[in-house]
């Protein structure tokens, strides 16, 4: 079974802070990590390889330092890595990102593509389905459980819905997106980290990809950011002491009634 896992390097969002004066993000000193949902996807791919044989290729599009997340996935147990890196890829929105990744993936042999459900910096959940569409394959999004049929031709997945989940079956090749509960990603061990450096690693530029540069990066992105600003601050939040619960609650309920909150 040949599995492709598109991954993204993201800032550790819980450590991103705003510069209150300039209204910009302070990214200095914020560690970069493998997107946690992509970690679930990498783990799922490795588990399927362990059960059914095959090969796991991780692919990312990003600046030179994004190499780190590919090395992490290789250390976890992926077999090959592809790094699409070029200034011509930068500024891509979800459509251009998905298109770029699909332009590389379409030249590969694959049975399954597993993505994280979304990246924790942008939270869009769009790149996975858009890759599936560009490759003309079906998608099952937000999966918590993956089963491959005995003949290795079908996948059955538990897809999270707003009410619970549904069991969905499809013929391979399929793109899945991984959500929480799918597995517990392993930590790379020392052996894995040593081996990762020796595994096949391909760097791909715009020229190597061979796609019309007008369809990539900022030029290929229909959506554009016009303005970035800090979220409105909550003004005048009240915090009171609850040592006398009855009195505190009275104040709270009066406040809520006055505001018409219930």
């Amino acid at each position: 079974m040949k599995i492709v896992v598109p991954v993204k390097q993201v800032p550790e969002v819980s450590e991103v802070r705003m510069n209150e004066e300039t209204g910009t993000l302070i990214r200095d000193g914020v560690p970069s990590i493998l997107n946690p949902f992509d970690e679930l996807a990498v783990e799922a791919a490795i588990q399927l390889k362990e059960a059914h044989g095959g090969e796991v290729t991780v692919i990312t599009m990003g600046p030179p330092q994004a190499k780190d997340v590919l090395l992490k996935a290789l250390a976890m147990g992926a077999d090959n890595a592809v790094h699409l890196t070029d200034i011509g890829f930068s500024g891509a929105d979800t459509l251009a990102t998905a298109f770029t990744l699909s332009e590389y993936i379409r030249k590969m042999e694959f049975d399954l593509i597993i993505c994280g459900k979304q990246a924790i910096d942008g939270d869009t959940a769009q790149v996975g389905p858009e890759i599936a569409e560009f490759l003309s394959i079906p998608q099952i999004c937000y999966v918590r459980k993956i089963e491959i049929s005995e003949d290795g031709k079908h996948v059955t997945a538990h897809r999270e819905t707003d009410e619970g989940y549904e069991v969905v079956k499809a013929k391979l090749p399929v793109l899945l997106t991984a959500t929480k509960g799918l597995n517990e990603p392993r930590l790379p061990n020392i052996m894995g980290i040593m081996k990762a450096k020796k595994k096949p690693f391909e760097e791909v530029t715009v020229e190597i990809l061979g796609t019309d540069p007008d369809l990539l990066g900022l030029a290929g992105s229909p959506t554009q950011v016009r303005k970035v600003f800090p979220p409105e601050k909550k003004e005048g939040g009240i915090v009171i002491d609850g040592d006398d619960p009855a009195a505190a609650v009275k104040q709270l309920v009066e406040f809520l009634t006055k505001k018409g909150a219930f």
Binding site: Q126, C141, G164, T223, R226, G242, F255
Partner: protein
């Protein structure tokens, strides 16, 4: 945009003829030919062609053509026998946008036996309802719904298409966007029309640390998914009238590549969805034991509220995943949010910070939840909650 047909690559399988809803492809010897006057570039044939003989070239549209695109569309999702509340919220918001543009609001419903919802949508602000009804649409599938949406959008050229940012909305919208080569903005919390008649789409990023205003520079329609509960549905106006148009869209079972074998509901004891509720009572680690959830559940039932949980308690299995609020669960924006024994990690805050009123009860005065709350009580939830329940009972009884 144009359709390129590579006749040498075509193997004459004729699948494209079967999937065309616009009668634009016909058999031509052992190959096919296209009538580009009928073709609307919906992409159904490109999707089904195994030989890569059909390619729709999607170049950004010429600015002078933008005026050809008119009307604000809302994809109105149904669940079981009802419309999702976000459908009415978006029709109401769509009405505002349409007034600013001097255009109409068109609601789109896809499913089986769903025409009955058309009047509700009109009463909430739709000028027209497009109904795509058929057995193949009974369950949501990415493929059938994508074909329906692209087949509607391509010939009718709306200027805006909005989807609720629900599980299905976030599955469908990017698929439609990629098929038609369109820009798409996810999870918007603000929408407006600027001086150049463009849709300005505001959304949070970086876990809610920053807001971004996004516009769709080069493609039409302008597409966005919108978080449930951000906009409030208007009161229905029973005197409003509108057109209802049934549109036949043929989808063959062969085109639907996924099959729903089973649907499992994890909603317990009439538990309300955290995304749709006006009030959410959410508990965190401070609740200590699953048996103690009886208190927040009692508060929730008094207020017709949804019972939510932070990640740690859902991970422990104390509440089903569908009730988890936060980045790895659901994003909610109710009118009133209770954070009970929740410290307020950024992953939680990004899932609830746009609620109208936030009440936090926590023992730790330094808990970050107090920085986003409108009213915080530093105290023990086990002494404060029983008082709160009895005080709210009093107020409700007096009404």
């Amino acid at each position: 945009m144009t359709l390129k047909f590579d006749i040498d690559a075509c193997t004459g399988c004729m699948l494209c003829i079967k999937v065309c809803n616009f009668d634009a492809i016909e058999k031509d010897g052992d190959k096919v030919k296209f009538d580009l006057h009928k073709c609307v570039l919906c992409g159904s044939c490109e999707e089904v062609c195994k030989d890569d003989a059909i390619k729709i070239e999607r170049k950004p549209i010429d600015k002078s053509k933008l005026a050809d695109y008119k009307d604000v569309w809302v994809f109105c999702e149904t669940v079981g026998d009802r419309l999702r509340s976000v459908a009415l919220e978006l029709v109401t918001k769509g009405r505002e946008l349409a007034i600013d543009l001097g255009e109409e609001v068109v609601a789109v419903i896809i499913g089986q036996d769903i025409e009955k919802h058309a009047q509700t949508l009109i009463q909430h602000g739709a000028d027209k309802v497009l109904v795509v009804d058929g057995k193949i649409f009974a369950d949501y599938t990415t493929d059938a719904y994508t074909i329906a949406m692209t087949s509607l959008i391509a010939p009718r050229k709306p200027s805006v298409v909005l989807f609720g940012a629900t599980g299905n909305g976030r599955d469908l919208a990017p698929r439609v966007a990629a098929r038609m080569g369109l820009g798409l903005t996810a999870d918007c919390t603000g929408l407006s029309i600027d001086d150049e008649r463009q849709l300005i789409q505001t959304r949070p990023a970086f876990g809610g640390n920053i807001m971004a205003e996004i516009y769709t520079a080069t493609t039409r329609p302008q597409m966005a998914t919108v978080r449930p509960n951000v906009f409030k549905p208007g009161e229905p106006d029973t005197s409003r009238t509108g057109d209802v148009e049934k549109v036949d869209i043929e989808v063959s079972p062969l085109q639907v590549r996924t099959r729903v074998l089973e649907k499992v509901s994890e909603m317990v004891d009439g538990m309300i969805s955290v995304e749709e509720a006006d009030i959410v009572v959410c508990s965190g680690r401070g609740i200590k034991d699953p048996a103690n959830l009886a208190l927040p559940k009692e508060l929730a039932s008094l207020l017709d509220a949804a019972v939510g949980g932070s990640r740690p308690i859902v991970d422990l299995g104390w509440l089903p995943p569908a009730q988890q609020v936060g980045q790895s669960g659901r994003t909610v924006c109710p009118k009133l949010y209770f954070a009970l024994g929740i410290s307020g990690q950024i992953q939680h805050i990004s899932g609830m910070s746009s609620s109208d009123f936030i009440v936090a009860i926590n023992k730790d005065p330094e808990a970050p939840i107090f920085s986003v709350s409108d009213f915080g009580i530093v105290g023990d939830i086990f002494t404060v909650l029983p008082e709160l329940i009895s005080e709210i009972k009093k107020v409700l009884d007096a009404r």
